[in-house]
């Protein structure tokens, strides 16, 4: 019987480690080939690894452990089937070795004595070592107490707050957002757009579009194409800063922000200048699905030149988005609301949306930024302009 090591797969670029967030298989269980085994969280993405062969899995690291790329986290005894039921999680949570007090503190703090350096005889971990480690990591998750519920008085303070360590993804996001705020000379220009034309087009062609392409025609594809159009008209916005070098991009890979329960992700739709509306819709839908399922790869997130974020789906009226470095501009979409506006000397009611363009003033001047946003507005209000090239 051969034993196949289960390793952390290479994630590309700068990623050397991550957190094994969750096991989908229990230790000692039988797994099928291609069955999802675990979720890996890195500072950029969360991904899933599948079994390369069928057999019995022997898990070597706990969920929540930090792992390196290439590290063996389990082995699969190829072809074997489980003979014993998997141990209950409760039993596995208490370390089997160490002194009684060490086992007690480990069970109550969730600390792994194997990761604490010991001061006892021959390096054994003592209760004091574990208490010191617990004091040093106050955010360590408290293991479920095996004892009956504690008196309400002592439970009350804990119930008012829950402390969780930031996932690498969230920590990275936080760091990038702050970096963008600190490094870029960021400011935002606003406009409003009358959505009547796009809504009319959607109403007119929706059924046929769905029949032909198997998915609905949304607003996002119109805005993506409008952004490509505007970038072509105002190339000064399609730039980024590399040290003291200004880099002009001659391609149109547009990031679309997707909200997932693991945090915000911005998968990039490649070559939007060459894609039709249907292909853009499909690209966005695929990326969003993979992002929400945690199956997105690092490659999906890199190399965008511009980002579109749509707070409107949650009802936002107006906001100032933060640019996604090293990009230099980001378009924020908002809720579509019917509002009275003046048109040709008449007050009329139109479906209106506010647009916000945040940009890095170090590279982009107000004239370009405002012109860019006007181009987006015009392309949405009169989609024929994109076709004609105005």
């Amino acid at each position: 019987m051969t034993t196949l090591p289960v390793k952390i797969p290479p994630m590309g670029e700068s990623i050397t480690s991550g957190v094994l967030a969750k096991w989908h298989a229990a230790d000692g269980a039988t797994v099928r080939r291609d069955q999802p085994l675990f979720e890996l969280e890195t500072d950029k993405i969360t991904s899933e690894a599948t079994a390369e062969a069928a057999g019995v899995i022997r898990i070597a690291v706990k969920a929540g452990d930090e792992v390196r790329i290439g590290q063996v986290v389990a082995t699969i005894e190829v072809g074997a089937t489980a003979t014993n039921p998997a141990p209950t999680p409760a039993a596995a949570a208490v370390p089997a070795t160490g002194s009684p007090a060490v086992r007690r503190v480990a069970a109550e703090t969730g600390l792994d004595p194997a990761k604490v350096s010991g001061t006892g005889k021959a390096g054994r971990v003592t209760k004091g070592d574990l208490l010191a480690a617990a004091a040093a990591s106050p955010a360590a998750p408290a293991a479920p107490a095996p004892a009956p519920a504690a008196p309400a008085t002592s439970a009350a303070p804990a119930a008012r707050q829950t402390r969780r360590k930031l996932s690498p993804l969230r920590a990275r996001l936080a760091q990038r957002l702050v970096t963008a705020q600190h490094q870029a000379a960021m400011l935002t220009t606003f406009n409003e757009v009358d959505m009547s034309a796009v809504m009319a087009l959607r109403a007119r062609y929706q059924d046929e579009f769905v029949k032909r392409h198997g998915l609905k025609l949304g607003f996002m594809s119109f805005f993506t194409k409008a952004v490509v159009h505007a970038l072509r008209e105002v190339p000064a916005v399609n730039v980024q800063l590399d040290g003291e070098t200004l880099v002009e991009n001659h391609y149109y890979d547009v990031g679309v922000a997707v909200s997932t329960d693991r945090g915000l992700m911005v998968p990039v739709i490649r070559g939007c200048d060459r894609l039709g509306l249907a292909e853009v819709e499909k690209g966005i839908a695929d990326a969003a699905t993979r992002a929400r399922e945690g199956r997105i790869t690092l490659g999906d997130l890199e190399g965008g030149v511009f980002t579109i974020t749509n707070g409107g789906v949650f009802g936002s009226m107006l906001s100032t988005p933060i640019i996604n470095p090293p990009q230099s501009a980001i378009l924020g979409l908002h809720a579509i609301n019917e509002r009275p506006i003046a048109a040709n000397g008449q007050v009329v009611i139109r479906p209106m949306m506010y647009l916000a363009l945040s940009y890095d003033h170090r590279l982009i001047d107000g004239r370009e930024a405002v012109t860019f946003l006007v181009k987006v507005k015009q392309a949405i209000e009169d989609p024929a302009r994109v076709l004609i090239g105005l």
Binding site: S99, P100, A101, V102, R104, G118, T119, G120, K121, R124, T126, K127, G128, D129, L131, A132
Partner: protein, 465 residues
């Protein structure tokens, strides 16, 4: 000239254990002993004979005072001192014979006589008949032990002024015995003769007896001995002995003079390293200011290839410590990783009840500036102790206030010397009081008092309030 890999001078528990361990490790070992019997002070005139006397005298005292409480009517109880001493001698000679057998079985060459260095690696051994033989070895271990300290105004004469060597073999029970020195030896031998019928007075110059223990332990211990009929005169300095029948020992305390009539005066004020006649200067072995052999941290003397262990070096003069020294030296000589933890040498006084300690006491911990938590449990609340009719004393544990690591233990009570062992093990492994408290102790045993004391460190003893 007979050549060895290792010669050990002195066949006490340190020396013979060293020789045995070295033989186990494949060395050719010579063991030199001036006594005709192996085993040194401990086996011949120390630990073992005094324990034989303590057990016998305890049985006698029990038969006289305690049997009736158990519903046992013995009628007249009388002492056959000669038989009691004979039993002790038989135990000693049986054990000494056992050591000789072990030495032969391990191929250790025993050389009887007095050894003296003739050069850095050479020795001459002079036998009782005056014949000498020359020995040579790559390594020499000095394990010559210690001898009782003599006071200048109380010279041992073997009749009125006696040492522990004499006190284990008195031909009759002295009417009045004055013991100078309230340490382990004086209290044990004082207890023996008190149980056998002597009026015993212990004179101690320090403010309390058993001064190496915490004050609360010493105080309780003093009360227990006083209840057994021992008179304890602490803080009294012996000034002289007026001859007569009986002689009168004079002592002074706070300007007042004590006059203590004595048929015998046992001087047990300590022991001194035994280095006379060894020719250390010819080997280049230096002594320290207290005439102990000067060592580095690995029991090496100032002369290359010469080592020293046990009572002849600094540290507690205890057989078990000497044994560990001996094993470590043998292993170091054989190129192994020897090890002694001199911080965890248990010390025991084998009175009734016994007193035992290991590691840091409360006072020593406080003197060292350590924040500690104390757990204490009385044997009066221990079922087994009550059943045995021996429920005096308590277990006291000292733990670090922050890490809960056990720092030491002091036990005053029945079988304290056996009970201390598990605490030594916990200390050795860096265990916490909680570890001890979470270890199952069989019921009903005295050891439950140790567990309860461990619980008491965290103020959660179950059988005490």
């Amino acid at each position: 000239m007979t050549r060895f890999d290792l010669i050990v001078i002195g066949a006490g528990p340190g020396g013979y254990v060293c020789a045995f361990r070295a033989a186990q490790l494949g060395l050719k070992v010579g063991l030199v002993e001036k006594r005709p019997a192996l085993g040194g002070t401990c086996l011949n005139v120390g630990c073992i004979p005094s324990k034989a006397l303590l057990h016998s005298s305890e049985h006698f005292a029990w038969a006289r005072h305690d049997a009736a409480a158990h519903g046992i009517r013995l009628g007249g109880v009388s002492l056959d001192l000669a038989a009691l001493l004979r039993r002790k001698d038989e135990i000693v000679s049986r054990l000494a014979g056992g050591v000789a057998q072990l030495a032969a079985a391990r191929g250790v060459t025993v050389v009887t006589g007095h050894a003296a260095f003739t050069g850095p690696k050479t020795l001459s051994v002079t036998g009782a008949d005056g014949a000498t033989q020359a020995l040579e070895a790559a390594h020499v271990v000095i394990a010559t032990g210690s001898a009782p300290v003599e006071l200048p105004f109380l010279r041992f004469d073997g009749r009125t002024v006696i040492s522990s060597d004499h006190a284990i073999a008195l031909p009759e029970v002295p009417g009045k015995l004055v013991v100078v020195g309230g340490g382990a030896i004086g209290l044990e031998l004082g207890s023996v003769w008190a149980r056998l019928g002597s009026e015993v007075t212990v004179v101690e110059s320090l403010p309390r007896i058993a001064a190496s223990f915490d004050e609360d332990v010493g105080r309780a211990f003093t009360r227990m001995l006083q209840k057994q009929g021992l008179r304890i005169e602490a803080g009294a300095k012996v000034t002289g002995l007026r001859p007569g029948s009986p002689a009168v020992l004079t002592a002074e305390r706070g300007g007042q003079t004590l006059e203590l009539p004595a048929d015998r005066v046992l001087v047990a004020v300590g022991r001194r390293p035994y280095t006379e006649g060894l020719g250390l200067e010819r080997a280049g072995v230096e002594l320290d200011e207290r005439r102990r052999i000067r060592l580095d941290g690995h029991l090496r003397t100032s002369a290359p290839g010469i080592w020293a262990i046990g009572d002849v070096v600094a540290g507690p003069m205890l057989a078990h410590k000497a044994e560990e020294d001996g094993v470590a030296v043998a292993e170091w000589i054989a190129g192994r990783a020897g090890h002694v933890n001199w911080d965890l040498v248990p010390a025991i006084i084998y009175t009734h009840p016994e007193v035992a300690s290991v590691g840091l006491g409360e006072e020593a911990a406080q003197a060292a500036g350590r924040a500690v938590r104390i757990g204490r449990f009385n044997f009066a609340a221990n079922g087994r102790a009550l059943a045995a009719g021996s429920a005096e004393g308590f277990v006291k544990l000292i733990a670090d206030a922050t890490t809960d690591r056990l720092l030491g233990a002091q036990i005053l009570g029945p079988n304290a010397g056996e009970l201390i062992s598990e605490v030594v093990t916990h200390l050795e492994y860096g265990g916490s009081a909680e570890d001890l408290a979470r270890t199952i102790h069989a019921h009903p045993t005295l050891s439950e008092a140790v567990k309860e004391a461990a619980l008491a460190v965290d103020k959660r003893a179950l059988h005490a309030v």
